[in-house]
Symmetry: C2
Subunit: 256 residues, 2 copies
Amino acid sequence: MAVSLNERSSTELKVRKQRAPNSPPRGAPDRHAGQATRNSEIVYRDLRDAIVDVTLTPGTPLVEKEITERYGISRTPVREAILRLAEEQLVDVIPKSGTFVARIPVAVLHEAIVARKALEGACVREATAKASKSQIMELRAIIQREYELCAAGDEQAFHDADNAFHAGVAAASGYPGIWSMIEKIRLQVERYRRLTLPQKGRMALIVAEHAAVLDAIESGDADAAVAAMNNHLNKLRIDIGTFRDLWPDYFLFDKK
Amino acid sequence: MAVSLNERSSTELKVRKQRAPNSPPRGAPDRHAGQATRNSEIVYRDLRDAIVDVTLTPGTPLVEKEITERYGISRTPVREAILRLAEEQLVDVIPKSGTFVARIPVAVLHEAIVARKALEGACVREATAKASKSQIMELRAIIQREYELCAAGDEQAFHDADNAFHAGVAAASGYPGIWSMIEKIRLQVERYRRLTLPQKGRMALIVAEHAAVLDAIESGDADAAVAAMNNHLNKLRIDIGTFRDLWPDYFLFDKK
DNA sequence: CTTGCATAACTAGTATACAAGATATTTTAC
DNA sequence: GTAAAATATCTTGTATACTAGTTATGCAAG
């Protein structure tokens, strides 16, 4: 069982006939953008979506064999998908015992908001400096769409547009890597958000807040833009007390 | 090959006899803290360390079979380790072709510094509000150790102490999740840092900058603390020009 | 009825065999 | 000799069998 650790694993790796310098393998290097080609990717996406949907509720056992049969594939890709989810703290895998949809740690929720404010603040500040005219126009269009969806009362589509606005700001900042970090953080909070009932008048408020952010960006006032974004994100503040009673076993409370 | 996607994978998962509500599986939930029990974890750590060491240089092929033989284990755990590395953008795996240590994208380096400033800024601000007397004393002790290691000229130990200071600030802020994000970001920049030769007088400067941060924290001036930390992190600014010539094939330059 | 223990039925971890595509090499045509 | 095609040999992706530890079950003793 024990694995030899004495010799450094890297010391004398036989360097295979190497590609010419400066010529990275030409196979698509950013396969991340493309759609799923591997089965493990498909399973991962399905499970992840189901978890953030709260279709799969916290605590639910995830049995590899069942998923295997459902998809008609072997355990290997299923396992890879589950390992990715474990990496992102969406499932807990207990060796030789079972895999379970992770409970939502309330401490993480608070941290997630802080982290998001920090990262999106950096994005919006940079966007204020670098946003092109066309990018600003696109953001304005998104806000208009939000306004229309708000009037139509389409919650799901509105939420997508909401996300698109934030993505647009990140794009304008030229920080794609930071945006992907923000999206990972969002996964955690999204489960919580799905549990909260849609609040009356919330959409109209969001539209106004987005508009405030964009106005500040357009006027070139970075500090105001950051402040507007912070104000917007602060509205996500977690009110855990209500849900402690509703779904007590969905959350993991601090042990202090 | 195609996988059935028509039916939602989550709709009717047979819910196995479930554990009693409010009783999370009692197996160690924070296995993350413990040492590696699974072989895949050991391989992952070794490879990751070798990559950030730049012992395994960017572009080096990583062949599953070789690692398999080196450790005397099968491909499965090796593969899992490699998949984790791919997740963290430390390797590029090209299906049916090969796996390679990822080149360092200079754009990511810049973003990493921005993200780190944002996140550590949030940490230091919170730490200013919440740090206990003992935590401040610990940070002061770390700075003293840095001073001594600086005098002794021990680069490696100094770097560890440097990291310990930042970890200490994060601990004082009570944001362990944000600290783990910062550490992931650090992985990317660390490879670059390892390539830069130790700069004369750098250590003494770092000690002074850390002291400035701690002074501001102690005096309760959050804005000054954030400013001091930003000033400190700005010193990491990437000077890619030098290395474009030295190791042209270690980096990935923007394609604009 | 309760408690302790043996045992059966789970689980994830690992090893290995095979499949499929990509690259390197050789062969063949010209 | 050159170039293109066939082929051999790589690689990772997948399937499956087996191992080992955990949890549940049922039986027996008190």
